[in-house]
């Protein structure tokens, strides 16, 4: 989707002062952060992450952690209180996403709580929201967004086609790279209609004619599926008809992009901490390897880049929370393109700093490199986002 389309075309975006948002955590947010840190630290241990990622647990995601996130009300942070949520904002959700990214927690936060929920909030009717959001907040409903075609190109219309007879919609086609697609209970499907318009449908994943195939993924901590719809029939009541579908999809993807940036910051933070600790302990040539400037300078560079990445991601999350749509059009691609590149560099440097041990399966650093590479390519690579920025800035 073209994130640039909804932005106002004011020519001075390149120089205009961005709206003021605060980056300081409130006391409540700080408490939330501590609580979430403890929770992920206790639950998303490296052993547990591997168990889930290698298919040795009871599901393709961490059901225990997921249930706890639900119990603590953390799945419903952005869901209105009327629909079983906490009625907080993306600023709070970002705290959860960063910790999840730091631990590589294999839970469907991005798919269900960000992409699916934002699409539903954007285009669902009151009835549709009331029907599904309480389940999402409770963790029992898990949404996955199927919006791509088989090639996965963001600039190409969805691979699913929708045609209508009376009150029945017929859905046919294939959507690839659906995040958590195989384990989701419900799918939010973007489809093209006969007139070329875009519609969103929310359907039970067990609907007749839906088949889902797991994709062999680079990053095992985030499963994806190819979703095929063959002769699927849904009713008009399953079409998200409370708002403009295109705008809702755009809203969901923008939130997804910000979520990824925040998650990337968590991963960079982890990498910096673990490599610094190792550089302090590992002795070669009779001294800690961190005493060699080649190593020390690299870690210092990583720190500087982390700080910039954090600023970009935090800005995007705060702007999204504040509902500053114009600024978000800049902040989201800024954060995603910048954080993705820093994450990839840090994660790869991390392997180098660990030496031979960093190249082993047993060591966790490769999981971060794979997450970095995958999140770089997910929902638009850095070039895509920089092109959007260039357009917005009139360059």
């Amino acid at each position: 989707m073209d994130t640039a389309t909804s932005a106002t075309d004011t020519p001075d975006l390149a120089t205009a002062a961005p709206p003021e948002v605060s980056y300081v955590l409130t006391d409540e947010q700080r408490q939330l952060q501590e609580m979430v840190r403890d929770l992920f630290g206790d639950r998303a241990t490296p052993e547990r992450v591997r168990e889930v990622m290698l298919g040795a647990a009871d599901a393709a995601f961490d059901t225990i952690l997921w249930q706890e996130l639900a119990d603590y009300g953390l799945l419903g942070l952005t869901i209105p209180e009327a629909h079983g949520g906490a009625g907080a904002s993306f600023a709070e959700l970002a705290i959860v996403l960063e910790e999840a990214g730091r631990r590589l927690a294999p839970v469907p936060l991005l798919s269900s709580i960000v992409l699916g929920t934002e699409a539903l909030l954007g285009a669902g009717t009151e009835t549709q929201r009331a029907a599904h959001l309480p389940g999402v907040a409770a963790g029992t409903t898990r949404l996955a967004l199927a919006h791509l075609d088989v090639g996965g190109d963001l600039l190409v219309p969805p691979g699913v086609h929708a045609s209508r007879t009376g009150d029945t919609w017929h859905l046919d086609g294939t959507s690839a790279y659906v995040i958590d697609g195989a384990s989701a209970s419900h799918l939010v499907v973007a489809a093209r209609t006969d007139t070329g318009a875009l519609e969103l449908f929310l359907l039970d994943a067990a609907t007749a004619g839906v088949s889902r195939t797991e994709v062999e993924v680079l990053d095992l901590t985030r499963p994806m599926a190819t979703v095929e719809l063959a002769g699927v029939e849904v009713g008009e009541e399953d079409r998200l008809s409370g708002g403009d579908a295109m705008a809702a999809l755009h809203r969901a993807l923008t939130a997804g992009v910000v979520a990824l940036a925040v998650e990337q910051v968590g991963g960079i933070q982890y990498t910096l901490e673990s490599t610094t600790a190792y550089a302090r302990d590992r002795i070669q040539f009779g001294r800690a390897i961190g005493s060699f400037q080649a190593i020390k300078h690299r870690l210092a560079d990583m720190l500087v880049e982390l700080e910039s990445a954090r600023s970009a991601a935090l800005h995007a999350a705060r702007v999204l929370a504040a509902g500053e749509r114009d600024e978000l059009a800049i902040a989201a691609p800024l954060a995603k393109s910048y954080c993705a590149e820093v994450y990839e560099r840090s994660a790869a440097d991390g392997i180098q700093l660990f030496g031979g041990i960093g190249f082993t399966w047993e060591h966790d650093q490769h999981l971060y490199l794979k997450r970095a590479k995958a999140t770089k390519l997910l929902l638009g690579d850095p070039k895509h986002h920089r092109a959007l920025l260039a357009e917005l800035l009139g360059l």
């Binding site: 062999e216 070669q284 790869a348 392997i351 490769h366 590479k373 390519l377 070039k383």
Partner: protein, 398 residues
């Protein structure tokens, strides 16, 4: 000299091909005949698989074999032997060693591995702790090695041990050939980020090595090990490939298939930046080969190793980016197998991307290569050393 050498090599190639047409001869027989015709490592003397000429002619020989439908995959599948062990045995072994080990190494009847690195000694190889204690006509070895590529297939290992812990670290080392099937050698797989186990950890418990498997004098292990490492760096970085082969060729193919006429100018320029760097590097190795005289490669080998490692990492990463969303996949999945070669040379771009992360670690890290270039080639002063003259026993280790 060059003309005579060319004539000699041409003559030997012709004789080899006449007796054993490369496309029709089974690999092992062919490699044996190649050895007997002095074309296994041309810079070695007659009788040891060589012709006593400049090593630059090896590329010519290998190219001709490949063009004629023969195979040179032994250089890859037995790289620790052919690329590193042979040069070491030639330089420091006895005639008995040369006669016994070189030919079956080249024919791949016997696979070799390199037992240098330990958990506590990687970049700082000379700090290693695996001990060898003399008892009459043999040595008793105890300790642990790690990252041992192809250890699970190897018949022989190149082993560096500590024989005198009271000497400064470089002085107390001794080098051996060890039988990997000997009593007390335990090889366990170590899985890599690709999901495959090319390398292993190897435990030695009271392993007896006959003294006649010692390479070089007692206490001379560091000198012998340096020969192995110099050969390794050339084996890793110094291979001359045809223009557009290898990782850059793969990137170009992906560009053609998926971007081609619709590709954007920025990405194309990035591809071309990598292409020009790869080609300039390739020409540097052609030049180095031409200039090389026989004997052990010097520290300049680190130039090629460093450049190749860093560039290969960049190119393979770029290739995955070129795949776009398909870069999110890992075709074939993580297999948890123990391959008989290195994934570096085959596999999907995704696997090559992961495998390439090791290029700047294996055979000496890029940081160490830079130290070598700075200190040994440019002659810059070294880092202050806290460990150099102390007895090994007293040096801190992790």
């Amino acid at each position: 000299m060059g003309v005579d050498e060319r004539a000699l090599i041409e003559e030997r190639i012709a004789a080899l091909f006449a007796a054993h047409p490369p496309a029709e001869t089974d690999e092992r027989t062919f490699w044996g005949a190649q050895f007997d015709h002095g074309l296994a490592w041309v810079q070695f003397p007659d009788g040891f698989g060589g012709s006593g000429v400049s090593p630059r002619w090896q590329a010519v020989v290998d190219q001709r074999i490949n063009d004629a439908g023969g195979s040179t995959r032994n250089r890859i599948n037995n790289v620790l032997g052919i690329g590193m062990g042979a040069g070491t045995i030639m330089a420091h072994g006895t005639d008995e060693h040369r006669a016994r080990y070189l030919r079956p190494m080249f024919t791949m009847e016997e696979i070799w591995c390199q037992l240098f690195s330990e958990p506590g000694a990687g970049s700082d190889l000379a700090a290693l702790s695996t001990s060898a204690v003399r008892e009459d006509d043999h040595w008793i070895v105890n300790g642990q090695k790690v990252w041992t590529t192809l250890g699970h297939l190897a018949k022989w290992g190149l082993l560096v041990t500590r024989t005198d812990p009271d000497q400064p670290k470089h002085a107390g080392l001794t080098y051996f050939i060890v039988d990997m099937e000997a009593e007390g050698v335990d090889v366990r797989p170590l899985y890599q980020i690709t999901g495959e186990a090319e390398f292993n950890e190897v435990y030695f418990t009271d392993v007896a090595i006959p003294d006649d498997l010692r390479v070089g004098d007692v206490g001379q292990g560091w000198t012998v090990a340096m020969t192995t490492l110099m050969n390794e760096r050339v084996a890793i970085g110094g291979n001359v490939q045809p223009r557009g082969a290898g990782a850059i060729g793969e990137a170009v193919d992906i560009w053609r298939e998926r971007h081609g006429a619709h590709g954007d100018a920025v990405t194309r320029d990035q591809l071309l930046q990598l292409w020009t760097a790869a080609e300039a590097m390739r020409l540097t190795s052609v030049r180095a080969k031409e200039a090389a005289t026989s004997g052990t490669p010097g520290p300049e080998g680190s130039t090629a190793k460093l450049q190749w490692a860093e560039l290969n990492k960049r190119i393979t990463s770029f290739s995955v980016d070129l795949l776009g969303p398909e870069g999110l996949t890992y075709p074939g999945g993580y297999s948890f197998s123990r391959p008989d070669g290195s994934a570096d040379v085959d596999g999907a771009p995704h696997k090559r991307f992961l495998r390439a992360r090791a290029n700047s670690i294996e055979g000496g890290t890029s940081e160490i290569m830079k130290n070598i270039l700075g200190e040994r080639v440019l002659g810059l002063p070294g880092e202050p050393r806290v460990d150099k003259d102390k007895p090994w026993r007293e040096v801190p280790r992790s």
